[in-house]
């Protein structure tokens, strides 16, 4: 089976995909994107969390065939994703809350041009605010839970920029971490939210 879909803004084609292969397997083993992790492959740990058409999902539970024609963001594309969101948000502010124009805005296009569209390896210098906050707050120990938590936390902050502690816990309740006891993860999300607030 052949599957065509978009990963981190770039069209991808996976060939010879077996019936029953998960999106996680295709990302990790066929597309060379091992950032999404495989701690359980049963939908219990959240280490494989990616965004599928914007919605956080456990990629181990998504059959590869289901993503045909759809849009996936993984931890490798998180910095780019956040950058583009920031640009969009700036445009919204500039236009006093007018609905964002469809298609990439001029600003957005410039950013893409300046940084290139290759976020496959997670290069490109700057980190997403949530990534930086995880480092700064000491939320990373072994780091195996980190990619999934980053994708989930970033998504929460996108629609809830000022979360309460209870909101954070609820949003991250599907992501297991065995190392940190979660306190530093709470700190990291609070820090990212605070920095995001300052930036506006």
């Amino acid at each position: 089976m052949r599957v065509n879909f978009t990963v981190n803004g770039r069209p991808q084609e996976a060939d010879d995909v077996w019936e029953g292969e998960s999106l996680l397997y295709v990302l990790r083993e066929r597309l060379g994107l091992p950032g999404s992790k495989n701690a359980c492959e049963q939908g219990e740990c959240g280490s494989c969390t990616v965004r599928l058409d914007g919605v956080p999902v456990c990629s181990c539970l998504v059959a590869a065939g289901q993503v045909e024609g759809r849009d996936v963001v993984t931890v490798e594309g998180l910095a780019d994703h956040a950058r583009q969101r920031a640009v969009r948000d700036r445009c919204k502010t500039v236009s006093h809350g007018a609905p964002a124009a469809s298609g990439p805005s001029l600003d957005e296009a410039r950013v893409r041009q300046a940084e290139g569209s290759d976020s496959q390896a997670g290069e490109g210098g700057e980190l997403a605010p949530i990534q930086q906050a995880f480092i700064d707050a000491g939320a990373v120990q072994c780091g195996f839970c980190t990619p999934g938590l980053l994708v989930a936390a970033d998504e929460m902050l996108e629609h809830n920029p000022t979360p309460t502690d209870a909101d954070i816990r609820e949003a991250l309740s599907g992501n297991l971490c065995r190392c940190t006891g979660y306190e530093k993860i709470m700190d990291a999300v609070r820090l990212a939210a605070a920095r995001q607030g300052e930036a506006v």
Binding site: R28, S36, N38, E44, G138, C142, S173, L176, Y182, K184
Partner: protein
């Protein structure tokens, strides 16, 4: 975050400087930024947040094959026949190997006792034991081929507890034992027995006004690190193999792997791949030998990754235990004696059971001063899953029981449980049951005072202006209560953990440190074989190099076996021992750098000969602060490199009859206060807060120290209320090998964990530091249990507590 504090208030409250420990000996109290004592950030942080950090399960190689292990579906059986022909004929399969295909006569391995078969031979002794291995070009092909291997088993009766293990007609789990414990164990199904007798407990019992007895059960806990067991073995041109592996100790793996492959150690190269947590579960080998065998057989790189199901079978667990205790005390709240018997279930293979017995027995009465003790600990061979190392290592099981006992005695005496503990708390100078003197600060009473002094979370914290926030209540979003039937309880516990390998083990580490000028800047490179498993050792190594060598740039070389052994990332030992080795090698490098400086510039300034010289901010300075030369000028084109071993002071074995001996290196103390709310109708527990106070000697990286304490605390919380591998007592089969059925704490289950860090230097250790990773896992569990008892009035003599234990249904 409470900042680490210095100073040690006396019992009367008067703060004094460093009364119990001499000043911390920092060889070089550096002004170079990013040195020890600062919360510098992880050098691997960026890679880990971008998804680029390569964990063992992320490895990939051109042409690589996937390995799969066939495991026994039963716990105890003879293998009557084994037929691999159909598996071998499957398209895509490159090799199938069984016991008969092993290349040499060395067909077993083990950390201490080589009793674990690489592949089963004629008999399986536990559920999930490896029987055959397959290599194929797709993981699913390998799985399906493994399923086509036909194995006929003739089941044998299972041994699952002390009674069945030591029955007169019990089947021996291992026949013809010739290990060094067989001479002193009362039955061949006992791995090791350690009695510890000091004073006369029977005589002392006569002085007791109250005597309290208890029987406790500790369930089987899993390390549940998130990164699955994994590695990639690449065959090399010289007939050797290069293994990229997630492990806790490269050189111990090497020592066990090479003889099975029939290769000299020099032909088995090992490089540490990214490790997704360990907690003891990677001390024993898992897929290492299997991957190497398949790679050498097929001539192709072979990768093996366990899935979660297999991971539950693929590593040892924490020993479940039965613990029998008797405590006596006088009316005025002084312990007269303690007697205890600790029975640990080691499962089918020895792993580290003997050392776990040593810990459980020597630390069996906790951080209390008691002169008359009678202790016995044993580990059994059974057909249950093999058990070995997990964070806390034997001290955890004992702490659960002795702390329950301390509460019971306090209650009998009508004393406050904290006060009663403080009256009996050991201090510096106290003797352990082994007769060993505790010769560094032992602030047990102070830690209890501190944890008790922390403000309590508000009552009825679930109430908000909009009514009850169910997220803050037991049951959470299942919306089982709005506060009806919910009662609060508070509990305390304190524990003692040894740091480093004990009982005479030669527990050394090695560090290679190099200093040179690169692109006009002095740069230090630190190369060790230390397994970074998430604990942050790499961060600390860079800090030590900055402090000792006065450079800003430090490169951490990947860990591999091209440098000497660093010992295990376990026993809270790496910052102490490999940190000590890095410090030592840096000091040797510094001496050489200063020699070069004297040679080159000595004639220009008398201070080169007379003053004490330091390296700071890229310069050679006098202790008075005068700059003598830049390191760039001193070094020029020369590179200075030192590889050296470093050891902590030696220990000795415990006497096999009396248990006496200076067996331990150092101790680590932590105390917890748990606040819980219990829905008494449904038996649901919500831990509201789990506060910890710990003495860390010296916080080399305060942010990481707090992270370790919070992480360890949370694993203890899991053990208190949810985590248990359920083994069927009739079949010895594991019933819940998945994250669906084996629960670990989520962010919703985990409360806030305020931490109070005390820094009392241990003069024997580098910088005065203490190993810290395990102590918080000890007292967390009994504190939560104490809080639940406090809330419900129930006895609760087992952990974890499940709802049915609280509702009696």
């Amino acid at each position: 975050m409470p900042s680490p504090t210095r100073g040690f208030p006396r019992a009367d409250g008067a703060p004094v400087g460093h009364p119990l420990g001499a000043p911390v000996k920092v060889t070089q109290d550096s002004r170079t930024r990013g040195g020890i004592g600062e919360s510098t950030l992880r050098p691997d942080g960026t890679l880990k947040v971008t998804g680029e950090f390569a964990y063992a399960s992320d490895l990939w190689h051109e042409d690589m094959l996937w390995g799969q292990i066939l495991r026994s579906p039963v716990a105890h059986a003879e293998i009557v026949s084994l037929d691999t022909s159909e598996a071998l004929a499957t398209p895509g399969v490159h090799a199938v190997m069984t016991y008969d295909d092993l290349p040499t006569d060395v067909r077993t391995y083990g950390l201490e006792i080589q009793d674990t078969p690489v592949l089963a031979h004629g008999r399986v002794r536990h559920h999930g034991e490896p029987v055959a291995v397959v290599a194929a070009d797709h993981p699913e092909t390998a799985r399906r081929a493994a399923a086509k291997i036909k194995v006929e088993y003739r089941e044998l009766p299972v041994i699952t507890d002390e009674a069945s293990a030591t029955a007169p007609d019990a089947i021996l789990i291992h026949e013809n034992r010739d290990d060094h414990h067989i001479g002193h164990v009362p039955h061949p199904n006992i791995v090791h027995r350690q009695p510890i007798v000091r004073g006369d407990a029977d005589e002392a019992a006569r002085r007791a006004d109250v005597v309290v007895r208890g029987e406790y059960t500790f369930g089987m806990q899993d390390q549940a690190f998130l990164g699955p067991e994994s590695g990639l073995a690449v065959p090399e041109e010289d007939g050797g193999v290069h293994l990229y592996i997630a492990t806790q100790w490269l050189h111990a793996d090497l020592r066990q792997i090479a003889p099975v492959l029939g290769l000299p150690e020099s032909k088995v190269r090992m490089t540490l791949a990214g490790v997704g947590g360990a907690f003891g579960g990677r001390e024993d080998l898992s897929m290492q030998i299997h991957a190497c065998l398949l790679a050498l057989r097929t001539g192709k790189p072979v990768k093996i990754v366990y899935n979660r199901f297999e991971s539950f079978f693929g590593h040892v667990h924490r020993h479940p235990a039965k613990l029998y205790y008797e405590h006596g005390a006088t009316r005025d709240g002084r312990l007269t004696h303690v007697k205890c018997r600790i029975v640990l279930d080691g499962g089918a293979y020895a792993s580290t059971s003997a050392a776990v017995v040593g810990n459980a027995s020597s630390l069996g009465i906790g951080p209390y001063a008691v002169d008359d003790v009678d202790i016995e600990a044993v580990a059994l061979y059974t057909n249950n899953p093999p058990c070995g190392a997990m964070r806390g290592f034997g001290a955890v099981q004992a702490c659960f029981a002795y702390e329950a006992q301390m509460d019971k005695v306090a209650k009998e005496l009508g004393l406050d449980p904290v006060e009663f503990r403080q009256r009996n708390a050991m201090e510096q100078g106290a003797l352990l049951p082994t007769g060993q003197r505790v010769d560094s600060p032992a602030p047990v009473a102070e830690l209890l005072r501190r944890v008790k002094a922390m403000p309590l979370p508000p009552e009825r914290q679930w109430e908000s202006s909009e009514g009850a926030d169910v997220r803050q209540l037991p049951g959470g979003l299942s919306n089982t209560t709005h506060g009806e039937g919910v009662v609060r309880g508070i509990g305390y516990a304190v524990g003692i953990k040894n740091v480093g390998f004990s009982e005479g083990f030669d527990d050394y580490s090695t560090a290679k440190v190099r200093m040179e000028v690169i692109a006009g800047e002095p740069v230090a490179t630190v190369h060790t074989a230390m397994a970074e498993v998430g604990q942050g050792g790499v961060t600390v190594h860079a800090q030590i190099a900055r402090t000792e060598l006065g450079v800003a740039q430090v490169t951490i070389h990947p860990a591999d076996t091209r440098v000497g052994s660093a010992g295990s990332t376990s026993a809270s030992r790496q910052t102490y021992v490999t940190g000590g080795a890095v410090k030592n090698s840096c000091e040797l490098v510094r001496e050489k750098v200063l020699e070069i400086g004297r040679r080159r510039f000595g004639a220009h300034h008398p201070a080169w000969a007379t003053a004490e010289l330091l390296l700071e901010d890229g310069k050679v300075v006098t202790d008075g602060g005068e700059v003598l030369a830049g390191l760039v000028d001193v070094l020029g084109d020369e590179a200075v490199e030192v590889e050296a071993q470093w050891r902590h002071r030696p220990t000795e074995p415990f006497d096999l009859r009396t248990g006496q001996g200076d067996g331990h290196v150092q101790y680590s103390f932590a105390a917890h206060r748990a606040v819980v709310e219990v829905d008494t109708e449904l038996g649901l527990v919500k831990v509201i807060e789990l506060a910890c106070a710990q003495d860390v000697g010296k916080a080399l990286n305060p942010l990481s120290v707090i992270g370790q304490i919070q992480g360890g605390t949370t694993q203890g919380l899991g053990m208190a209320v949810m985590e248990e591998i359920i083994v069927d007592p009739k079949t010895a089969k594991v019933r819940n090998p998945s994250f669906t059925d084996y629960l670990i704490p989520t962010i919703l289950d985990t409360p806030t964990i305020p931490v109070d860090v005390l820094e009392l230097a241990d003069d024997h250790a580098p910088y005065g530091l203490r190993g810290i990773g395990e102590a918080p896992t000890l007292s967390s569990t009994p504190a939560v249990l104490a809080a639940i008892r406090n809330a419900t009035g129930l006895e609760l003599d087992r952990t974890p507590v499940r709802p049915e234990h609280l509702t009696g249904t």
